[in-house]
């Protein structure tokens, strides 16, 4: 990639866009596999195309419904690789639809670049902490080390209605 990151807000919007794109493409592949296969030079592979449709729709729903789209975008990148592999196989000289496979391959390359750019821009820049992690590790709220505080409140009498029923208590468990 060029190294230029998309602003996080735009990346979120782009992820949404890619979600809808997934669903649109997926529906086309699922409902009209023949036409999609013809357009991409993949005649004879209609079932494969339809199964890719299911994949696209699932990723699309994932992208649109989850707060963190990153795993789903990686799913799309993986799917792009699968598409590219399939289309590359369509480039073999024996295939009459070879040119169309070539064009489709270029198109998928473009989308793949977009997917990758999007997911890389979303990579959580780990939020900066207001204090070092070690400081959190010191925040016990207790006057002495936790080990020394175990049972410090055992003067507390658990009310009758909060007691574990007798048969469910461990043998030799706390009396009283």
């Amino acid at each position: 990639m060029s190294g230029r990151r998309i602003a996080p807000r735009q990346a979120q919007a782009l992820a949404q866009g890619l979600g809808w794109f997934s669903i649109g493409l997926g529906l086309a592949e699922l409902l009209a596999p023949h036409r999609v296969a013809r357009a991409t030079g993949l005649q004879g592979h209609e079932r494969l195309v339809a199964s890719y449709g299911v994949r696209e729709i699932a990723t699309g729903i994932g992208l649109l419904t989850s707060r963190d789209p990153a795993p789903w975008l990686w799913g799309r990148v993986g799917g792009d690789a699968l598409d590219l592999g399939t289309l590359a196989a369509g480039l073999r000289p024996a295939n009459r639809g070879r040119e169309r496979s070539g064009v489709a391959l270029l198109a998928v390359l473009g989308v793949a670049a977009l997917d990758l750019a999007c997911v890389l821009s979303l990579r959580p820049s780990r939020p900066r902490l207001p204090m070092p992690l070690a400081e959190y590790r010191r925040r016990s709220g207790l006057p002495r080390p936790p080990g020394a505080m175990r049972g410090a409140a055992s003067d507390f009498v658990v009310p009758e209605d909060y007691r574990t029923p007798e048969p469910l208590r461990p043998w030799g468990g706390k009396a009283a």
Binding site: I61, G62, L64, T65, S66, P71, P127, R128, L129, P130, M131, L133, A134, Y136, R137, R138, R139, S140, G141, L142, P143, P145, P146, G147, M149, R150, G151, A152, A153, S154, F156, V158, P159, D161, Y162, R163, T164, P165, L168, R169, P170, G173, K174
Partner: protein, 389 residues
Amino acid sequence: MRALRWHGKQDIRCDNVPDPKIEHPRDAIIKVTSCAICGSDLHLYDGFMPGMENGDIMGHETMGIVEEVGSEVSNLKKGDRVVIPFTIFCGECDQCRRGNFSVCERSNRNKSLADKVFGHTTAGLFGYTHLTGGYPGGQAEYLRVPFADRTHIKVPLGIPDETLLFLSDIFPTGWQAAVQCDIQPDDTVAIWGCGPVGQFAIRSALLLGAKHVIAIDRVPERLAMAEAGGATVIDFSKESVVERLNELTRGKGPEKCIDCVGLEAHATATIDSMYDRAKQAVMLETDRPHVLREMMYVCRPAGTLSIPGVYGGLLDKVPFGMAMNKGLTFRMGQTHVNRWSDDLLRRIEQGQIDPSFVITHKVGLEEGPGMYKTFRDKLDGCIKVVLTP
């Protein structure tokens, strides 16, 4: 006065609104000195709880100084310092007499609606949907407290707000979560969620004598704070919770499991979490019960599940058969704050615990709206936000 108001999903604003007035002889008006944002507020912010209306004032963790009292409030006077529990209660009904304040039969002024939706009404709550009374909340400069002669915790001067404020909710909530486990000296207590409620559940379980406390989350600073409280931690984004829990309990599972997460549980891409997200998106299910499923699965047979985490409505694919056959006990509910608060205040005064450890952010009320997002998205190392009007 200024107040944080709900205007829709992820839309909280600091608005100017009329000051509250005494409406009933048992009311009091409090001048708010500190208030906080709670994980429960996030469920409203994210639009998962039904029954919010445009313009509702948020907030249910509030303390301050009594400004004015109604004619029937004889045990409070202007100038008293009070923490306000999030559960409004009358102190006289059948439930209140048993100490079940969060299901008070009289404090919900929308009782007939709640009767229809829940079968029987629960208590009125501040700043928490019209199903629980639609009472204006305490993220504001002033708060009207109904049934104020009972709905308050009187606190002494000389202890800072930060140390006392959480008596309003999250400290008693973590405490009740642990009490619901009736902890025995040999118990392993596993706690899901290291947000503010989880942090107090961890410390309560320790103070009540649990042999081993295990805490689960994926946010590094929250896990670090859990360790500070004496817990062994599991990062669910890096390791299998079920495998680790079984390892730590010699294959037997924890006796007690506490859900301090509630309906917005996250999960690493497991089948059940994708299923929940999809169903939630098309509104076939309101809650994501991933943690409940995990607890039911890993808990030792005849063990207890304690559930302070809030659920809103309908849950799907909950393995109830498993729970039934394992003979699990379920304890849950909104916290009966005043049942525990005097005892907890005493523990604070004696120095057993200082609840202010959990605060990471303290800002003015007008910065509240931005803080909702910071808290929800765990930005800037945020664990607990205190607002000062």
